[in-house]
Structure formats: C-alpha cells, structure tokens
Symmetry: C2
Subunit: 324 residues, 2 copies
C-alpha cells in the first residue's frame, strides 16, 4: 500500500509538507504543492483525509471547465500554458474534496454538466447570456464583464499595476512604457488602468502598446515602439510571458536588462524565477485562485449564498533582477 | 423538548422553511430568516444540524466584532441600526456553525480575540496598521481602503449606482441629483463614482451634496440644494435612510413622490418596503454578506487560502413606488 512516506520521498519533501499540502494549509510554495500533487497522482495515493472528505460530501457533481478556441490553440502551441494549468490543478484537487469531478469542454459548445467554469478573457456578454439561459451555476475564472452580475474570481490587476508603476516612478524613472494584452480581457484592462492612473498622478505621459500573444509578433511591437517613442527607461508588461519576450527582443538589440531598461511582469509563472534575468513581477496566488474557485462553485452547486459575488485576489510584488 | 414544529409555529412559517433557514438554502427572504432565528433564540431550540456541525468543528474560536465610536453612537441613537444588525445576525448564526463565538468590542481598543471583524467605513490606514501588527486574522466588513492589501467583504456600489442612474436617465430625466454619505467610506465612494460615470456618459451634469447621518441635518441639505440648484426630477440617495429623510423633507415642502421627484435608495433595509411610498432601491444581500464574512473568517482562522481577497457582492435593483 502506498503511504504518505512514499509520496514525501517521491516529491523530495518532508512528510509534514505533504500533510500541509493535503490539508491546504499556508506557507507551502506553489512549486512544492505542484510536486506533491504530481507525486500523489503518479503513485495513485489515496490519502485518508480526502477519502473522509469525499464521504462527507457524498453527492458527486460534474463541472465543465469551459475553454475558448483561442485558449485551446494557445495550449496546443504551448504559448501560455503555465498560468491556467497551475490554477486548474488546484481547482481540481480542492474540488475533488467537495465531491466535484471536472471535465474539459468548449466555451461555445459545452457538454452537459451540473455547473460550468468559464476560463479566461474570451467570455463575452453573449456567452454569459447563453450560460444564464442554461440555468445551471457558472462562474467566470480570471475575467469579468462590467455591467454583468455574475459570479467571478479575478486578480486585482489595478492594485498590482498601480503599485508596480509607482515603484518605478519612485526609482526616478520618467519614461515608463506599458505593453499590454487585449483590453477586452478584464485582467489586462485593470492593469492598464492601474498603470495609467499612477502615471497621470505623477504628471507623466503614459505610453502603451498592444501585444496579443496569439496574433502579434513581439519583434514588430518593439520595433514600432522604438521608432515611434524611443527607448524607455522601464517597461511594465501586463504578464510574464510578454515581459520575457520583451526582454528577448531588447537583448537582441544589445540592451542590458536591468542596466538599460528595467522590466516588470505580472503573474509570477513558475518559469519567472528561472528566467535570465529572473523577473520582477506581481505574484498571482494561482493555488488560492484555484481553491477559491472550487469552493465558490461548490457553494453554488449546493445553493448556499448564491447571489453573484466577485472575488478579487490581491497580488504581491516580487523584486528580482529584471528591474532595479 | 423543543422541536422544529414549535419553531415553525412560533415564527408563523412552515417546517420546510425552518429547515431551509437552518441549512442556509436560497429562496428564503431576509425577513423570514430573521423571524425564524428570533423564534429559535426565544425558544432556545438546539437543532441537530447545528449540533453536528459544531461537533465537526470542535475548535472554538473567539472573534471580535469591532465597532467605531461613531457606529456605537449611531446604534445608541437608533439612527441606522438595521443594516449592520441584519448582517451581524447572519454572521453570528453562520459563524456558530463553524465554531466561532463572537463578542462586540471597540475598533480602536479591541479586547484579545483569535480574529477581528472591523465593521463599517471608519477604519483608517492607521487602524489597519494597528491590526496588522497584532498578527491575528482580520477583515474589513463593508469597507476597503484603496492601496491596502487586506481581506474585505464589500458591496459593489459602483455597479448598483451606475445601474440606478442609467435607469433614471432612460426614464427621460436630465436633472438627476445625488445625495451621498461621507466619501471616505468605500461604499459611498463606489456609489458616487457609479453615479458620476453614468451622468458623464450621458453628457449630463452631476450635482451632488454630502449628507452625514451623524453630523448633518437633512433640512439644511435640502434647503441648500434647492436654493443653489433648484428642484431635481430625480434623486439617487446613497442609502435608504438618506432616501427616507429626503422624502420627508420634500413632502414637508409639498412635493409629491414620485410625481414631482423620483427617489432611489440603496441597501433595501427591512423598513424600505413599508415606507410611504415604498422605496425603489438597490438590494444588498445582507444575509449572504454576513454568511460570506463568517466563512471567510473561518478560512483565515484555520489558515486556508489566507492571501488577501476582496469579496464584492452585486446588488439587485428593486422597483417600488418612490420612483417612476
């Protein structure tokens, strides 16, 4: 029989750490949690705590994780796989404890489920109407549409971006540019507004450029930026993937990071720490985002506190070497 | 022995309704829930479900409900007792199920507890720092301070006010005034911004007047408003108490509501429906606000998903006779 010792050995962590992960306690890094869950899966370990939790919540629910074609394309092309895959890992683990089974399905043509989690920024007003008409619980993960009253779990992009921009201003920078994803995404829009508000308050001119992971080429964006507005002292990018590509393009042009240009990302994806130079970024607590999503979905499924709420997670500024 | 039948009889509701309340299920009005809890308390009924829930969460926590001197003064003078007392009733009932005991204490000089709930809009940056230094879990109820990363449960005032203002604009009104509470309160500020944004978008001039429940006299505010800007076609007030006082003052001056002036409030306190004329308002789900606060506090106490989040409840527009 597989025991907790086997899991600890395989994951290369202490038994206490495995126990902390199983009990969803604080002070365990996302990376460690991922290792532990991977070991549990590979060993097919069935911890008692999960078994008893499952017994408590006898009813089994089936919940669809609804992804847009755009997101599926990104996953296939391995463009931005980390962010959502980490969130969904924790969503599934915590959901399991509440008797929820998940299955992946398409945003616009979902299979029949007891509830739906609409992932990412591609959900439109029309999509929301479609799900409202189904009359099953649903919530938006990492997105919100102003004017709609729907359950959603988002990151407080405004607060994080405002903090990062002010950080750069306090360092004495004046030419701080912003490279952002499509602004129909609530996440990118909040960060955009946090950046522009901080710039306006400091009497600095905001300069921003759209970069769409799926359609655009970073080389073109950087070339356009330099031709039009010159070289900035710092760039705040609206996610880590964008920040990494900005750094690559600037390095190609022989700029030194952070000596010539300071760069700040957003998300703190797993590879942000290993990047060269390691990324200064706003950490999104993806584990807790997944966990809170699972718990909120459970409440909706059992009919507790069902009036729509927005749950917005604050980020944490992580200083690394891509910025001074 | 007291049974569920006794509770149902005393509360004047069906047994099924008592059961729905005990299980915190949807489709029970706040008023009915209040009646049921009152009957339970008066009969000292100990439902099995609560007993088993208590057994499950053996650990007993003591949580302080921290009120400002201003709020205590308002309660004593019976100025705005309904809103928070309803929230706190549900907070205590649901908290009990999680093994939480509550005690009232003062915001600036709290007694020692395992966690703290800071009630209302009087919490300042300095107060937040004081509670951070205590290093015990705390959360802000019905308030948030921009730039602070703290757990908080708020109402989406922006969304509600934006909706109400647009409702009045669509009715053909142009002279829509706003009477609001002190803007250091996050709740009033969000409503203020929802109102001004809707007015600006419609190319209408926002006209607003501060009214502080504790310090100001509504007679003076209305007199000043009429002298300065004349009679509006509609007034959006930032809570129901304010709306009721506006109506009283306008009636004294022989204006007919809603024929001469349409009035919209915010909160849907228990007396809003019985007022003459019954108030059109934005309903805040105070029961769910209390319940979500209790659950979030429990998570913080046991160390689950502890990074700060804002939980923001959407409101619902309720059309009654104080507006066309």
């Amino acid at each position: 029989m597989i025991t907790i010792d086997d899991v600890a050995r395989k994951a290369g962590v202490s038994i206490a750490t495995v126990s902390r992960v199983l009990n969803n306690l604080e002070n365990v890094s996302e990376k460690t949690k991922m290792k532990v869950w991977k070991a549990i899966e590979e060993l097919n370990y069935k911890p008692k705590i999960l078994a008893s939790a499952l017994a408590r919540h006898k009813k089994k629910f089936k919940v669809g994780i609804c992804e847009s074609d755009r997101l599926i394309k990104m996953e296939k092309e391995n463009i931005s796989p980390e962010f959502y895959s980490v969130i969904l890992t924790f969503l599934e683990k915590i959901g399991e404890e509440y008797g929820i089974e998940f299955c992946k399905t398409k945003l616009l043509t979902p299979i029949e489920c007891d509830g739906y989690i609409l992932v990412g920024g591609d959900t439109t007003k029309e999509t929301v109407k479609y799900y409202k008409d189904i009359k099953k619980p649903f919530l938006l993960l990492d997105h919100y549409i102003p004017g709609e009253k729907v359950n959603c779990i988002v990151t407080n992009g405004y607060d994080g971006a405002y903090y990062a921009t002010n950080y750069l201003i306090k360092k004495g920078f004046r030419r701080i540019f912003h490279i952002h994803g499509p602004l129909n995404s609530y996440g990118f829009k909040g960060r955009f507004e946090g950046y522009t508000t901080a710039m306006h308050q400091a009497n600095l001119l905001p300069k921003y450029y759209e970069y769409d992971d799926v359609k655009d080429n970073m080389e073109d964006v950087i070339e356009f930026m330099i031709k039009k507005d010159g070289i900035p002292e710092a760039i705040f990018a609206s996610n880590d993937i964008t920040a990494m590509r900005v750094i690559r393009e600037l390095k190609k042009r022989n700029f030194k990071i952070p000596e010539d240009v300071s760069i700040i990302g957003f998300d703190d994806i797993l590879s942000a720490k290993e990047f060269e130079p390691p990324l200064t970024t706003l950490k999104v607590f993806k584990d807790e985002m997944g966990s809170l999503t699972a718990k909120r979905m459970y409440e909706l499924l059992i009919g507790h506190d069902t009036h729509p709420v927005m749950i917005s997670l604050f980020t944490k500024f992580i200083k690394r070497k891509s910025s001074i």
